[in-house]
Amino acid sequence: MWVWFHKFGSPRYFYDFAGRCIPWLGAACALLMAVGLYLGLFVAPPDYQQGESYRIIFIHVPSAWMSMFVYVVMASSGAVVLIWRVKLAEIIASVSAPLGASFTFLALATGSLWGKPMWGTWWVWDARLTSELILLFLYFGFMALEAAIEDKRTAARATAILSLVGVINIPIIHYSVYWWNTLHQGATVTKMDTPSIHLSMLVPLLLMAVAFQLYYATVLLIGTRTELLSRERRTRWVAEVIRNS
């Protein structure tokens, strides 16, 4: 176990391993997204209350889930950074931040485009929307703090603390639709009893959610490999990799 841990944490091994994974992850992402979009846009019936407008769900909900998932990845990496000072964890957190911010922005923007025809407004300051906006600012704060500190290892520790403090926002986002009265509809999928969504809509939604996960994994690994090369640029293994590329 520890041997594996050590090997996996070694930059060169991770670089090669990630390089082998990326084409498969990317292909699986493209395939699932194609099937998910086909089922979501062509096969799934219109919603009995919301008509065709509900089709925004197939990108809105996966984006919103990813906005929180990426944050948890970032904060967990932050914990690893603070406890073990693992360089790879620093890189994963750093590469995740702009991706998480993108998902958060998409969740807010697609939600706004869905809210206008359904609620009659682009925006309300209710608990769900406000806590998601705070999430966006947490990502921005992470990136700004990182950019402001020149030494990368110091920056990683500072941003790790910021991201860990911000974790409190994640359960707030999730439970906001229960704790406060809000315009936002309650959870459809992650309920304890059976999900209140028909299978013909649930299947494309889950396909899109997995596709978004695979997208994140793909772009995260591409970015992590780049950052590994950059930080280790004076080592022999990088010189070897570049020569063979």
């Binding site: 846009l41 062509f42 219109p46 008509g51 065709e52 407008s53 089709r55 925004i56 990108i59 809105h60 984006s63 702009p98 991706l99 993108s102 922005f105 998409l106 923007a109 697609t110 485009l113 869905w114 206008k116 025809p117 997208y215 793909t218 772009v219 591409i222 970015g223 490999r225 780049t226 090369l229 950059s230 640029r233 004076r234 080592t235 022999r236 990088v238 010189a239 570049i242 020569r243 590329s245």
Partner: protein
């Protein structure tokens, strides 16, 4: 369902399609930026490695 009906989205075309277009732009943009950073860095390191004494 005709193509026209499909693009009309039951009258919600102005909301549904911008949502999809925006997602496409943001996601492909991030992917593109990641690939570009990689290409640029590899070029930089190639230049740096032409002066061999920098190796450790």
């Amino acid at each position: 369902m005709s193509a026209q009906e499909f693009f009309h989205m039951g009258g919600y075309a102005l909301y549904v399609w911008p949502a999809y277009a925006l997602s496409l732009v943001v996601l492909t943009g991030q992917l593109w930026a990641a690939l570009r950073r990689r290409r640029k860095l590899i070029r930089d390191i190639e230049v740096q490695n032409r002066s061999p004494e920098t190796h450790t």
